[in-house]
Symmetry: C2
Subunit: 350 residues, 2 copies
Amino acid sequence: MSSPTSTGGLRYRDAGVDIDAADEALERARSAIRSTFNDRVLADVGSFGGLFRADGLGREPILVGTTDGVGTKTRVAAAVQRFDTVGRCLVQHCVNDALVQGARPLFFLDYVGVGTLHPERVAALIGGVAAGCKDHGTVLLGGETAEMPGVYSGDDFDLVGTLVGVVEREHLLDGTRVRSGDALIGIRSEGLHTNGYSLARRIVEERMGIAWTDPFPGDPLNRDAAAVMLQNHRCYLPVVDPWLKRTELHAMAHITGAGVPGNLPRVLNGMGARVSRAAVPAQNVFSQLVKAGGVERDEAWSAFNMGVGLILVVDPNAADEIQTELRARGEESFLMGKVAEDVTEVAWLD
Amino acid sequence: MSSPTSTGGLRYRDAGVDIDAADEALERARSAIRSTFNDRVLADVGSFGGLFRADGLGREPILVGTTDGVGTKTRVAAAVQRFDTVGRCLVQHCVNDALVQGARPLFFLDYVGVGTLHPERVAALIGGVAAGCKDHGTVLLGGETAEMPGVYSGDDFDLVGTLVGVVEREHLLDGTRVRSGDALIGIRSEGLHTNGYSLARRIVEERMGIAWTDPFPGDPLNRDAAAVMLQNHRCYLPVVDPWLKRTELHAMAHITGAGVPGNLPRVLNGMGARVSRAAVPAQNVFSQLVKAGGVERDEAWSAFNMGVGLILVVDPNAADEIQTELRARGEESFLMGKVAEDVTEVAWLD
């Protein structure tokens, strides 16, 4: 972009905004976006609003809406110029947040905020969003890319998404099924989800003192630090899909910002839980971060998911059957505690 | 927040993230959020996902989803530490984007991204969102506040929203009613909406050389520059509500980023339009920005709305009646051109 002389006429581009760049990004991403469409979609890419037929969604359909971002995971992506993965993280994060109320995804809308709009980067970001949507039967119904010079500097960006899902009222998980004594079954996470990145980046950069392209200490897959930190936010929809209409499933908690103690009590209908941390299989990424950062145990469990991706709150008589079924589908789960009515928060057993 | 010693254990707060601050902001905003709830809402503030009953939305209901931000209008708000107005701008922007397809709003979700989370500022931002939602019968169903040190610096922030509305299929405005020769009725905007701020801020700061608290040149209300620039993004739902089910209304365009030429052709079903700029009443804010910035005429019409907030595309035989009815409700409108099948874009008449 050219600089104006002090007396010349200003153009929009002189203020750092290139209207055409957003169109170019959208053009590059168009086929990926269209690949997520199904027969409920009525409008094409680029309308003022995406159109989605809502007839026949169920007898008593309840829409579940959830918005989130990917936090400063964007800074790791920017540091290694890898823009094609965080979009999937965003979608899968939101799918999980709808899932824990029993809902399956219908459609998604994304927002990309950047300082300078590079069409190929934005197209890669949207491509990641579209890939995540496609894998989970979710329409990418709309989105916005905003070029905001000064708000975002350098390669920094923000990535925000909104998911709308649906659940039939009788299958809604709203906490009312939860009973004292219910079993807590943990499903393993893979890496940090999209939370705890400000602390984790500081530990990697300052305490480990390694570059993003250096090997991450002890990683069983021999990945570099960026790959470990950009690990996809796991989507738990395929894991629990067969159980969504079963009455033995009483609630679910998605372990994101604020960890197990910040998320589990949100779904327990006013009760608390006794939880064993020793029951959760250790994951190298957390062990290394905690060690290098000298992070105290309680602090670590509030900053990171520590290996717990999702917690199923289930009828204790069905816990064995659920774990057996999960194992048959290749999913190792762990019994990590019980709902308790004599506490209101998470009480650690160890 | 305290600084760790180089060998001490790191806490999450040391990385610039205060988990409790987001909770405090939500607590402060809770009653404003709840005030937007209606009998379709099933969950309280703070759930993983907001719950909205979707039974009985119509015979053939179509959901309209739209996402947007308020651009660098956030920088004006940050400059004068006034955080209670841009939330309303965001909601009204999104309501308009759904409106132009014939839809009325159902629910909204917001996202606030900040570098350092000041609970009172975030509560003011969310309060503005809630006020806009309440005025237009829109439930504030959910939201997220993300503290992202490094991505946002100083007082900068981003504010993003997603609106879901609904329209009965027979009343959907999807361009198919548009005919060559249709009349274009302009509805006046009030100020810049939420677009063109990077250019406008540069003109105010560098060419006018005035402070945000200085009087804006020629403003008929004697406001300071910040007040002129923070003018609410006008909501056109009350203006056109009585016409939403009338078949004489063929389409509508909301004039946002890229101005009349960037937005009007999006709704004309492949046709273009001949448009008179002289027919649009001049507004002081645009005249002053164009003059001080030396902005060329075509450039100005692509960067700013130039006084046109919404364009109604109507049956030419109904144009008089519509304008008379608008006038009776205190709304001055202007005939600004016609749909033309021999052009594909906007062709200026003057």
